[in-house]
Symmetry: C2
Subunit: 238 residues, 2 copies
């Protein structure tokens, strides 16, 4: 946690807040080793970033006073990432990292090589929690939009074109002839599509192509989905 | 595993090999669902990439024949990554990903914020195993060099200058004024230094600077070490 995130429910006045979340309390005590009088970096969800002073801290709650929220959160990237639903094990880290890096809209989509069982993983009901971890990691207060699209074809044909708009779109595909680094030299795409382990099948690549999504690879090396997403997103960072 | 890696011990003739490694056997049976007669992509460690035919497959061993090794492994990046020893939990994935992306030389270094206990983690004796997983992921046969540097100052002063040579070096530092994306527009550095969670302390940044290592950040957002390394390495990919 590089910032403590509060929401409306935490505030008892404009300048005073109470934290009862045990994970946050433990972080204050064990990692930050906060003491009464310490000033902490904090933000209000959907609002601004600032600071507040610890006036009480026990294993049950923390009370913060003199809260000021003055700074704007960092800009979001002008980017939608459409990701074939990954293995539950890597889903948490991927949501965290995409959020921390400032992706504006995350779409989890079905694909031929997505294991059907992933859609019934209990982790899918915890996306908000992973997204909050990402905001706390990336020092941000603005949640990205997260969309679930369980049907590939209707999503690509009906929803994707408006997400692309005037921008461009690239699908990362290990077997594509074009290279990602080359394609983005003109401009960064507004939509990035990434497959599951094993990538998309030719039918899916063709359907994406029919709405203007260009396929590009990162070279001859094949990367884990998680590594590939972060390597791709690195191109958006300053 | 996007390639089956064999070494000298597997070969019984130039064109025939036996696999007894249980993890590989399980992969052949459960993931690839290999059958007698199937032709598999394989490589010889430190040598070339090619294929071979399955002529016998049981739960105890696999026998491959008609092995030909004709293709060169992908080029390594002209890059040394010097990484403050991370938490054991992320060490495996970081070694895998850096290997899969083709980093030529990996140095694990001590730093002020590296927890001392990390140096006695049993995972440190399994680096070769993680590196092999990375080669199998990245479709490569050439192991990167891996160096452990338990003393920060002597390494930086005595060993780092010759690793930089005629190239340049950048340390990723969340609080640096310069931006990584800007600094690399002229040329990619030959050496990349990445800190532990919490980054390097000012003394370490100064010592690195004294041998010519420039500090640069990826913007105002703070990333997990693992995400940061992959986001940085993305700049080297085509």
């Amino acid at each position: 946690m590089n910032i403590i995130l509060l929401d409306d429910a935490n505030f008892i006045t404009d300048r005073m807040a109470v934290i009862e979340d045990q994970a946050v309390i433990r972080h204050l005590q064990s990692v930050l080793k906060a003491q009464t009088g310490d000033v902490l970096k904090l933000g209000k969800l959907g609002d601004r970033i600032g600071q507040g002073k610890v006036i009480e801290l026990s294993h049950r709650h923390a009370i913060l006073s003199d809260i000021t929220l003055t700074a704007s959160p960092p800009n979001k990237l002008n980017l939608t990432v459409i990701l074939a639903l990954p293995r539950p094990k890597v889903l948490r880290r991927l949501i965290m990292d995409m959020t921390a890096m400032g992706v504006d809209h995350i779409v989890l989509i079905n694909s031929y090589r997505t294991d059907k069982s992933y859609w019934s993983s209990p982790l899918l009901s915890r996306l908000d929690e992973f997204m909050l971890e990402g905001l706390q990691q990336g020092v941000d207060t603005m949640p990205p939009k997260i969309t679930l699209a369980k049907r590939f074809k209707p999503f690509v044909q009906d929803d994707l074109p408006s997400l692309i708009g005037d921008g461009s779109a690239i699908v990362a595909h290990p077997y594509a002839k074009d290279r990602f680094g080359q394609l983005i030299q003109q401009r960064l795409p507004q939509v990035l599509v990434v497959g599951a382990e094993g990538g998309f099948i030719p039918y899916e690549i063709e359907l994406l192509s029919s709405v203007g999504v260009q396929a590009a690879s990162l070279g001859d090396r094949i990367l884990r989905t998680e590594a590939a997403v972060n390597a791709l997103l690195g191109r958006w960072l300053p």
